[in-house]
Symmetry: C2
């Protein structure tokens, strides 16, 4: 159930690719990517599922388009803020781009997973990487180091960290005492870390870690490493 009416009141504006992508993104934001089916997106627009196929080739193309729109949002947000003072160094520029991208991603939590399953880069993403690359080259990187840097940044360039373990606290509280005792015995380091971490990070999204802090730690470590390699002329 999306909040907006599933039938448009308007006399029917013409269906366009952009309008379809917008509806799909709204749906994904509201109900998760699983809700994005051809039939549901169509219903959202007051139209039959088959009508979509006149504007998108198939579902993969729909997902490609959604990613393209999301990256455009990053570009838009950068366009507004990028002309700031004081962000002169390549390191600050990249940091700013990545944190901006992250803000957009946090608004569309389904996007990282969809991006990672894409098999071809949408045009906006190529432009985005061109900007990152240009920042590095103008910052004194060789093409070779810049290339390595792109791979090392990976998804962080787009503002997200592939979080491998997202332990849900609810499940954790269910399997309580004896489970924890067994853990103490077999996983001493894990238990040690958790007991030290858990009371330090009140802002945690998941009860454990402050994702924003971890994201920034990661990019800073990588950016510092890259600067060192640039200075020794790799």
């Amino acid at each position: 159930m999306v909040t907006k009416a599933e039938r448009e009141p308007q006399p029917r504006l013409p269906l366009t690719r952009r309008r379809i992508l917008g509806a799909a993104i709204e749906l994904a934001d509201a109900e998760g990517i699983a809700a994005v089916t051809m039939r549901r997106v169509a219903r959202q627009l007051g139209v039959e599922a088959m009508s979509l196929y006149h504007h998108v080739a198939n579902k993969e193309d729909l997902l490609d388009g959604m990613v393209d729109e999301i990256v455009r949002k990053i570009e838009d947000e950068l366009g507004v803020f990028t002309v700031e003072k004081g962000t002169t160094g390549w390191q600050q520029k990249l940091r700013h781009m990545m944190l901006t991208a992250r803000r957009v991603m946090l608004r569309h939590p389904w996007a990282p997973a969809v991006i990672e399953t894409r098999t071809k880069m949408p045009p906006s993403l190529i432009r985005y990487f061109e900007t990152i690359l240009g920042t590095m080259i103008e910052g004194g990187f060789s093409y070779d180091l810049a290339h390595h840097a792109m791979h090392t940044l990976g998804s962080r360039a787009l503002g997200f960290n592939q979080e491998l373990f997202v332990p849900d606290t609810s499940a954790e509280e269910q399997e309580s005492n004896e489970m924890f005792a067994a853990m103490m015995a077999e996983l001493p380091y894990m238990v040690g870390m958790l007991s030290e971490i858990s009371h330090d990070s009140p802002d945690s999204t998941l009860g454990w870690c402050d994702d924003q802090t971890e994201f920034e730690f990661g990019i800073d470590l990588i950016l510092d490493g890259l600067e060192r390699l640039r200075d020794q002329g790799t």
Copy 2:
């Protein structure tokens, strides 16, 4: 079409969870993760789809189990080789673990995507991270730094790099001349990088990049950065 007969010749060995997971992994290896449906896995075992539900709760549980099996394979491979000479430092130990994990992942290319969609950690993965964590703590890390380190390594700890852009060469060759001319104009840095990279890396999986080299570059940059932070007592 999988090479092995879809009907088992044996008088019918009893269905077990391990046997189901094994069949699912075989299927994913041979035909990709999309071929792993309850019906297909069942057929592979000469059984009806519904029979699987006596050993796995549902499809998510099946996927959880597949990941668990894959991580066990890493543990097995580590068990054999881990008692080597000369791998005394924490850096070499971690490097060795990650490269071992990577060898396993390369044999099961569907695994990274499945791992990233898991919502809870399978037991083998907890054990695996305990080993990594222990290596860091014994190597002089604070729990806090070790925690940041886990987040920074991310999927690299399991041997894969979230490759964002996997441009397929076939598509690239199709949209040839005018496309490339437009690219020259709008994407000068990209073109510059590509022309320098392309003739340097003959071993590339995709025609562009040597994934193994990029993986090692990334982990080494991160490990070096961590060592520096450890030494300054963060």
